[in-house]
Subunit: 576 residues, 2 copies
């Protein structure tokens, strides 16, 4: 009864298709990666007519399961040239699931130089020419569309960065407060821009809703699952109180907080940008220290950050953004970082790629390290206006490095390395090197076990056990990314025995099936291998599963370690 | 008795080393590729301290053999990330050979932010701090150095493009008329810039000269070889009369002259930019239709092109440059193209990458197609001044495409595809796809057999025989690139039975050895496989041996053919 909506932008036609049997058990990342691997020629130009952009809610999206409202977007990435899945909160996943839509597949490029929008409702999907909102940024688009189509409308949109096909452009998703969540990584906003789609609006009126095969069983499992989320100290307390930015002080203490474009592992100004300081600032200014990115989120790691006068600045203000513009750019002004976060959301730039990029721009001498106002100016005057310099910056860390001849560029497969130094937290280095996505901490978050003592403990400073740790986490994450669950469910799943079975029980009750734990592991393995196969056919080999060479010869204080894995040791990752 | 000069820019030390036995039989490309493959970590950053820049004259350079004065430069390329060999005429190869120098190997990056020069003479090599010529372009550098060091000084230099590490930057070599020849392709000027070396000066005074083991045998062979060069209709007549630009009308006639960024195979304005028109213009303005790029050249395909008032504009004004700014940018003003050629030489930009790039810049809307004055402005005001836009353009066609989100970008391994449409001249498409160098017509110039009926004939419009043709030519070319010979000796070598044996006899007489034809073929195979191995370890696989996808779905008039080789068919290339 589920359906696939297929849009051909070349002839401006749409189709509603039945779900092929092979895709029936898939959702989220499992489905987007399967569709991209089956339908996209791996060597195609990611901004050309042969790439496809796929959206798929997770298997549990639209159900009452806690934290299940994530939407996956997939394509060949114009940033990494790998297959890409990027998931986000917001309201779209739940609306699509309730409309019984398993995936949207967008193909081709319009023949005419016009802009379009897509509209999804209970009757299917339609294409409309768009002129009014072209050149507008995300907050203006959401405001205008809520006026045009109603407050409850789900919205996926690109800012000017996506229109200009900047390879750090993201796809924004409206959240329950009409703010923004992002399919951040991998430049999928540029793919949407290449297809000349400014936004996708979703009207959930008359939606049939999600049918649950065994409602009682589901209810029991959902309760157990929610309890586990709330009982775990990370998902139930730390993230709820301080948000992800709780990590600034933790990583600084561990010596793994990349500072001054990955020259040091500790930042003198860490206190000024920490989660603790952020929490107190938010409370003092009448913001919200707790906030959910989608309905049904019980972790509430988001927040509402106000300025000194109590006016809204940003939400979804994450550790990786604070780290990157903070420690890594030698900036300790949290207010400026918050403004930059808001500007990146508005223009539609991935805030992780953005901040890694700004440190490389400083390395290139475009602005000096520490210049927070310079970053705000580059965002407003260059990236936001699409000047030549703005296009370079909007292309991400790798493009700035190439254009300015910088060799100290922290990227893997051309995607910026986030907030955890791989020389000091070696497990995450294995994830950066091996994930099919280009450097991405969420692909196998070893910080859990290396730093937070979740799921046991593997010494972050030593090589032993890191490959296995990253492998297990990447397999599990690929499966979790298929459920529509937020990645933070991994914390209780690793520590609380009832949690993972409850998650599987919810899937089984939803569909009336009988998956086992092994089935879930096999799903994760299948996804990774499917993605890896695509990447090999797109031109990747083991030599791409490496960190930039400066990590190997430049020791990072305070532990003064280098990245010392051999290629052979890294390649063991794929031995499953 | 030969020596290797090794320069370490990190500690500013130099060494004179004996030639290892394994390198004794190698010269030119064979030697640079061997050294790079042995000493450079394939995954290193090409502008970081682990890359090395190697110069090696050919095996016959410095002897009286006709057309033997080419110098090879090698490194990991910052443009393609492959191994790279780029060879050039000029006076340096012969000076180095007569100084008994087999290769110069430059390692490391200075710790201090200072610029340097290297000076080579009979006593070895020395490092000197340089301030006066920093920020100067190539013609000014040559003029100043001739004043400083004497008219006979050999010079290798980078312009501002190389200083700024633009990835289309070349290394310029002074020719016998104090003009410029270029190690054009692959951005080796950026590698020299990363090592903070502005120029290398060579003083040949007191040089021991090249000792020939069997002088009489050498003389006989050299005479036979020179006669073959002069007897062949291409090397003896066509190139001597019209230069390489004789090809405009030939390729236009064949429907393989890429026009309007590879949309068409014929150009309405072809007559205005043809070799015939160029010849008549040169004669009418008192220029020189014949000119050699190094002493001992008897083909004389270069020329001296003057403006309307009879003032010097440029020399070494090649078909690929005329094609690229002409047909491919829809420009039919030969004078503007000549000025651009001179500007690219002066700034130090590869004129092939430059012109392929300008068509992509037009595709991106930076300037309109046909705007020749716009190109001159971009060269003078943007690239020449190193503005953000100039850096994008100076990064070559691929970087412009990435920065502006263009999908119609004719590159292989990020290097611009030159002057022959691979859909219409299918053999050259195999060369573009498979060469270890990124798209490079000189790596296996199938135009000889596809278009010029040299070495037999293989129908350019059909797939049959192209892989074998390209393979044979690439093997032969790799060997020829090791001799110091100009690539155009291939024309008589393919058609005149005495030519190749005479070339081998010269090598044997020079060194007192007994190479056979099989040995030469094996040398070519060894070089290709050595380069390929480096590339695989640097992260390349078969998926990189492909043309951009638009060639597969966009037929090119007048033959309306697409690029229709399967991956498997292309991969047959490496079956040797």
């Amino acid at each position: 009864m589920n359906k696939i909506l297929r849009v051909n932008m070349e002839d401006l036609s749409t189709k509603c298709e039945e779900v092929p049997a092979a895709w029936a058990g898939l959702g989220g990342r499992g489905l987007t990666s399967t569709i991209v691997a089956e339908e996209v020629i791996p060597t195609c130009h990611p901004l050309g007519k042969n790439n496809k952009l796929v959206f798929a809610p997770g298997l549990l999206s639209g159900t009452p399961a806690a934290n299940s409202g994530r939407l996956s977007a997939g394509a060949k990435s114009p940033l990494t040239y790998t297959i890409k899945e990027s998931n986000a909160g917001g309201t779209a996943a739940q609306l699509l699931s309730r409309l019984d839509i398993k995936a949207i597949i967008i193909e081709g490029i319009p023949k005419e130089d016009k802009w379009y929008s897509l509209h999804v409702d209970k009757d299917g999907i339609s294409i409309h020419e768009e002129t009014e909102l072209i050149g507008k940024n995300n907050f203006a688009v959401i405001k205008a569309l809520e006026e045009r189509l109603g407050k409850k409308t789900g919205i996926l949109t690109i800012g000017t960065a996506g229109e200009l096909k900047m390879t750090a452009a993201n796809i924004s998703v409206k959240d329950p407060d009409s703010k923004i969540r992002s399919h951040g990584r991998g430049g999928l906003g540029a793919v949407m821009g290449s297809k000349k789609i400014k936004f996708i609006s979703i009207n959930g009126e008359g939606a049939p809703g999600v049918k649950i095969a065994e409602p009682d069983k589901f209810k029991v499992a959902a309760r157990t699952f929610a309890k586990a989320l709330l009982d775990h100290p990370v998902s139930g307390q730390a993230l709820a109180t301080y948000g992800t930015n709780v990590l600034v002080n933790i990583l600084n203490e561990a010596g793994g907080l990349p500072t001054h474009n990955f020259r040091y592992g500790q930042f003198e100004g860490h206190d000024k940008i920490s989660g603790e300081t952020m929490h107190d600032t938010i409370v003092a200014r009448g913001g919200k220290p707790k906030h959910g990115c989608h309905a049904g989120c019980i972790i509430q790691c988001s927040q509402v950050y106000n300025d000194k006068d109590g006016n809204y600045v940003t939400s979804g203000f994450e550790y990786e953004t604070v780290w990157g513009m903070g420690a890594n750019c030698l900036i300790d002004d949290l207010d400026d970082i918050a403004v930059a976060d808001s500007l990146m959301d508005d223009i539609g730039i991935d805030s992780i790629e953005g901040v890694v990029m700004f440190a490389v721009a400083m390395e290139a001498g475009i602005i000096p390290f520490g210049d927070s106002k310079g970053i705000l100016r580059l965002l407003r005057e260059e990236i936001g206006k699409g000047t030549p310099l703005g296009r370079i910056l909007g292309g991400g860390a790798g493009l700035v490095g190439k254009t300015y001849g910088v060799s100290r560029v922290p990227v893997v497969k051309n995607q910026g390395i986030p907030a955890y130094d791989p020389r000091t937290v070696k497990g995450i280095g294995i994830t950066y090197a091996t994930t099919t996505m280009g450097a991405d901490h969420t692909a196998g978050y070893t910080i859990a076990t290396n730093i937070l003592n979740v799921g046991g403990y593997v010494d972050p400073l030593k090589k032993e056990g890191q490959v296995e740790l990253s492998r297990n986490l990447q397999i599990a994450t690929a499966a979790v990314d298929s459920t529509g669950m937020c990645i933070f469910v991994a914390f209780p799943a690793l520590d609380i025995p009832e949690c993972l079975p409850a998650l599987i029980d919810m899937i089984n009750a939803r569909f009336g099936i009988a998956l086992t734990g092994d089935d879930v592991v096999n799903l994760g393995k299948y996804i990774l291998k499917t993605e890896r196969k695509f990447n090999i056919e797109a031109g990747f080999n083991n030599a791409h599963d490496r960190l930039p060479d400066f990590f190997s010869f430049d020791p990072v204080p305070p532990h003064n370690l280098v990245w010392d894995f051999t290629g052979e040791e890294i390649d063991e990752f794929w031995n499953f």
